[in-house]
């Protein structure tokens, strides 16, 4: 017993030490510790963010230099705060607050004290900087916009926040990151990779040479330049047309799915969100909850598509074989559903497929819609078939384009109506509004444009996308280069397209014909309601137009959705025809039409619900 007492103690203590050491060195150890090591300081070399060009090589977004004042809190020595603050043009309180924040973040690591100095402030400050220990100026590049347009598509960048810092090791404080639009979606391509240089420090924080002879250091990798599919000229032109109007315009090249323009009105100048006034401007944009300039209506605003949706119903009916081109329906200035008459503005008379489309006859499409359902034994079956066909046009779900946000829209299903009305409590007559694109169905402008592209292509589409080239090379992403086929046979498209072409020659859009260009289009006039003090109130109809041109070799498919623009050909039709002409001819021949569209605004319409007074809708004043 006595002989082994000391030996046991020796062995037990040995084990205790080994346990503790393995806890420290094996279990607590993490390779990332190098970042927390007070003996190593990382100095970053920020790469330039990639430039963004349009489809024709025109610069949209570039960079320009900016200067940040940085601070390493624990190296700060007592200083003439008053003079320093006046050089930085900030108040003393603000200075103290910022310094405190930097200290909380880390006393040892650099924080941004004042971001993005103006060139004048930089010049003044640079000479005196030596006086202020613990502070230094870091050069960095800021976004520069060579266009006042496309703000919502391009998106903006801003400093990473604390949460992101804790989530993503790639970023360090003060670094910029894409927040919306292309800047966000293609962040990884655009930002490049920052270089880092590790410096060995002693406990007095003096440099004592490179860490590991610089073996771990990396050079910055520049962000790649990209080309987007937008046409700068068309985008800028469209935004001019949208001044004073709310809504979205999306134009797609049908043969590729490339987005030619994506416009949301109202919009803002992207340069507003760069530089020191960024946060002030951002607040103004952000808190404008009525016009919502930061809201990309082209991809987020879901509305009933209205009459353009009739073309799809016609295609479904042809595919299902329930009508043919010669099927006749008589319109009595309306039609009867369950004993109630619903109106039609087509003028009445006998309609076939062709005139049903160009006259936009509600009665014709109500009748056709019911025939689709009558083909099947149950409404459920009919609903499934109808839903399958409609969804094959990219409606009712995310399209999969390359922007970080989007909406699904809505194509109602049988489950939807079972929930809404109850099992077996509904039939094709209950949901007859779907036949004319009203009621529950919802779509975003980009979905409408894509649907139009699918018609233009006679049955297939390419997922709309904005990326055209990365570092000069065309994209090969199969998401965007492989065609998606609709469930409608190619042969059924011609009669529909004929009808859509006659919309311009004989039908609802004959006023906005473009000489020398054959266009196929479809107007839409969408009833809409809002709540004013809890009361459901009807507002002036939304003006909707979809079109593609030229008919036999489509170069552009466009959807225009103008909120409260009244009937389809009024605002949307005008704008669509101007956009098509601009794109195909490069110049506008109909100067008076153009002038009218540039000058007209709908602000008076948008004021109505907020006026607090009774107001009239759908006024013919023009």
């Amino acid at each position: 017993m006595r002989r082994i007492l000391l030996s046991s103690v020796i062995v037990i203590i040995g084990f205790t030490f080994l346990t503790r050491l393995s806890y420290l060195q094996i279990f607590s150890f993490s390779p990332e510790q190098v970042m927390e090591d007070p003996a190593i300081k990382a100095i970053y070399d920020y790469p330039e963010r990639g430039y963004i060009y349009d489809r024709n090589g025109q610069l949209l977004v570039g960079n320009e230099p900016a200067y940040d004042v940085m601070v390493i809190p624990r190296e700060v020595k007592p200083l003439d705060t008053l003079e320093f603050c006046s050089l930085l043009s900030i108040t003393k309180d603000k200075f103290k607050e910022k310094l405190h924040k930097a200290h909380v973040y880390s006393p040892r690591l650099p924080s941004v004290l004042v971001p993005q100095l103006s060139k004048e402030d930089y010049a003044k400050l640079q000479e005196k900087m030596r006086k202020y220990e613990g502070f230094y100026i870091q050069k960095r590049s800021l976004r520069y916009y060579d266009t006042p347009s496309a703000a919502n598509v391009l998106g903006y960048i801003s400093e990473v926040n604390e949460w992101e810092l804790s989530q993503n090791k790639h970023y360090v404080q003060g670094e910029l990151k894409g927040r919306t639009g292309i800047e966000r979606y293609y962040e990884d391509i655009l930002r490049g990779r920052k270089g880092v240089q590790y410096i060995q420090k002693d406990r007095f924080n003096r440099d004592i040479g490179p860490y590991k002879e610089g073996d771990l250091d990396t050079l910055p990798e520049q962000g790649k330049q990209i080309s987007v599919t937008l046409d700068k000229a068309l985008q800028e032109y469209g935004e001019k047309l949208m001044v004073g109007k709310r809504g979205g315009i999306v134009a797609i090249e049908p043969a590729t799915g490339e987005v030619l323009t994506m416009i949301s009105g109202p919009t803002y100048d992207p340069s507003l969100l760069v530089g020191r006034n960024r946060s002030k401007n951002y607040s103004e944009l952000y808190y404008d909850s009525i016009a919502k300039p930061l809201y990309n209506r082209a991809i987020l605003a879901e509305g009933s598509p209205g009459s353009p949706f009739k073309t799809l119903n016609a295609l479904v009916a042809l595919q299902e074989g329930v009508v043919d081109e010669n099927t006749k329906v008589t319109c009595y200035n309306g039609f009867y559903v369950g004993g109630r008459k619903k109106g039609c503005h087509c003028g009445g008379g006998v309609r076939d497929l062709n005139s049903g489309i160009y006259k936009s006859c509600n009665a014709y499409f109500a009748h056709t819609f019911r025939k689709i359902f009558d083909k099947y034994n149950t409404t459920d079956e009919g609903m499934d078939v109808w839903e399958k066909h409609i969804k094959s046009f990219g409606l009712g779900d995310f399209l999969g384009y390359d922007l970080p946000t989007g909406r699904k829209g809505l194509i109602p299903t049988k489950e939807f109506y079972d929930k809404w009305y109850g099992d077996n409590r509904w039939a094709s007559s209950t949901i007859i509004s779907l036949s004319i694109g009203q009621g529950e169905v919802l779509a975003t402008p980009v979905q409408l444009a894509n649907m139009t592209a699918a018609i233009a292509n006679r049955g297939h589409y390419f997922t709309p996308h904005l990326l055209k080239k990365v570092a000069g090379k065309d994209i090969v992403d199969p998401r965007f280069t492989e065609a998606k086929h609709t469930t409608i046979d190619k042969k059924h498209f011609e009669p529909i397209i004929d009808g859509m072409a006659e919309v311009y020659t004989k039908g609802t859009a004959r006023w906005v014909r473009i000489p020398g260009i054959e266009i196929a289009g479809k107007t839409g006039t969408v009833e809409n309601f809002t709540k004013i003090e809890g009361k459901r109130t009807q507002l002036t109809d939304h003006s909707v137009f979809v079109a593609f041109a030229p008919v036999n070799n489509p170069k552009i498919a466009i959807a225009v959705y103008i909120e409260n623009g009244y009937y389809g050909s009024r605002y949307a039709g005008h704008i669509a025809s101007l956009m098509i002409e601009k794109h195909l001819k490069g110049a506008i021949s109909r100067k008076d039409l153009e002038k009218k569209m540039l000058e007209k605004t709908l602000e008076h319409e948008y004021q109505k619900p907020f006026s607090g007074e009774e107001f009239k809708i759908n006024e013919y004043v023009w």
């Binding site: 020796i10 203590i13 205790t16 030490f17 503790r20 050491l21 393995s22 420290l24 090591d37």
Partner: protein, 427 residues
């Protein structure tokens, strides 16, 4: 006796372990103290150069020890002891103060620390006294004398102040236990330490409740054949509670705030994690830095001379008391485990050497050597890796310091010299 036969009979395993530790130790001192500007490791103006010089001096000392007659140490042990006590007393008059402690004589080229001599002398004296034919360790009077031999140098060292070195002498009680001191002393001692810690961690009330539960349990599980000694049990329980109450009193009244802080850090008495972290980074700064340095080494370490925290001088006193953290950072777990294993092997080897001595004096001195080396190793590494409170004593053969290395070497090699003679039961 010829020098050749000494070389043949010396325990080479111990020598090899000793040399390994000295070499590894010096390499780490070099790592903590070198600068890129150093041209030669033999530059004696640098710390690692000085240490290299003392390694040389120690090896010379080893040769002298081996050359001397083997009974020289036993015969003169009382004289050594008295001289070392005198040298400790002399400090009060001639001592040189370094970092607040008057523990050194200034000998011009180096500073001599007499408490190091006292460790050797006390181990010799205690062995000499216990091995005396007239001494019976079961006897109270002899126990008291043994205790006096141990405690006297400690009492002289405490006021330097150097409580860490003073603590080392108590390790010599291992020798007395080995030689027959009743083990209930040990039981009482361990109980007191246990009660002390429990009181600080949970308070007297919980200790009392726990004790009561234990007694109830004892009665509940009672066998008919076993009679519970009610009176001793009650006395023990009351004594424990009283001791616990006194712990609170002593802790709050006699301890200084810095001592209380060390305990509250060690036992994690502070429950607020933010405040605890604060204490770790201020009062526990040294240990915090050394733990971080060791942790950052990981399994394989950062490589020799590549320790960033070592290079940056983040761990204070890294070449002396905190030398082990350099091993941890640069050599990782592989290095620390190797060092712990080398020490453990050396100790176990010395125990087996001690046990094979025919001569009582040699065995007892052997135990003294192991006790002293072991307590240094235990307290030092325990402190550096954060399992024991901060008590500043060096790691034998590792820490920078001339007298430390020299006298640890002398301590060890006197025993190895005695061992060469083990086959004779008297000298």
């Amino acid at each position: 006796m010829s020098g050749k036969s000494v070389l043949r009979r010396i325990d080479w395993l111990s020598v090899v372990l000793y040399l390994s530790l000295v070499i590894i130790g010096w390499s780490n001192i070099y790592s903590t103290t070198f600068t890129e500007a150093d041209e030669s490791i033999f530059n004696f103006s640098t710390l690692h150069g000085k240490q290299l010089f003392f390694i040389g001096v120690s090896l010379v000392a080893v040769l002298i020890i081996m050359a001397l007659e083997v009974n020289f140490y036993e015969r003169f042990s009382s004289v050594f002891y008295l001289l070392s006590i005198a040298s400790l007393l002399g400090l009060f008059i001639f001592g040189k103060t370094i970092a607040g402690a008057t523990s050194w004589y200034d000998l011009g080229f180096f500073n001599l620390q007499p408490s190091e001599i006292a460790k050797v002398a006390t181990a010799l004296a205690l062995a000499k006294y216990l091995s005396d034919i007239q001494t019976d360790i079961k006897r109270g009077k002899d126990q008291l004398i043994a205790l006096f031999i141990i405690v006297l140098p400690a009492l002289l060292i405490i006021p330097q102040p150097d409580p860490g070195s003073a603590l080392v002498f108590f390790a010599l009680t291992f020798v007395v236990f080995r030689e027959g001191l009743p083990l209930y002393y040990l039981a009482i001692g361990l109980t007191l330490i246990f009660v002390f810690i429990i009181t600080l961690m949970f308070g007297t009330i919980w200790l009392t409740i726990g004790l009561a539960l234990l007694i109830v349990l004892l009665f509940a599980l009672k066998r008919k054949t076993f009679k519970i000694p009610i009176l001793p049990l009650t006395v023990t329980a009351v004594a424990v509670v009283l001791f616990s109450l006194s712990v609170n009193f002593v802790f709050n009244t006699f301890f200084e705030q810095r001592h209380r802080d060390r305990f509250s850090l060690w036992l994690r008495l502070e429950k607020d994690p933010k405040k605890l972290e604060q204490i770790r980074k201020t009062i526990g700064y040294n240990t915090y830095q050394s733990e971080k340095a060791i942790e950052s080494g990981g399994f394989f370490g950062k490589g020799y001379l590549e320790g960033t925290r070592t290079k940056g001088d983040f761990v204070p006193e890294q070449h002396t008391d905190y030398i082990f953290s350099t091993v941890g950072e640069e050599w990782g777990f592989v290095g620390t485990a190797t060092v712990v294993l080398l020490f453990t092997l050396l100790f176990l080897r010395l125990v087996s050497l001690a046990e094979r001595q025919k001569n009582d004096f040699a065995r007892m001195y052997g135990y003294g050597v192991i006790s002293i080396l072991f307590i240094h190793y235990f307290i030092n590494i325990g402190m550096v890796i954060g399992v024991l409170p901060t008590i500043g004593i060096p790691l034998p053969f590792f820490s920078y310091g001339g007298s430390g290395l020299l006298f640890f070497t002398i301590l060890l090699f006197i025993f190895l010299r005695l061992d060469t003679n083990r086959l004779k039961d008297s000298f």
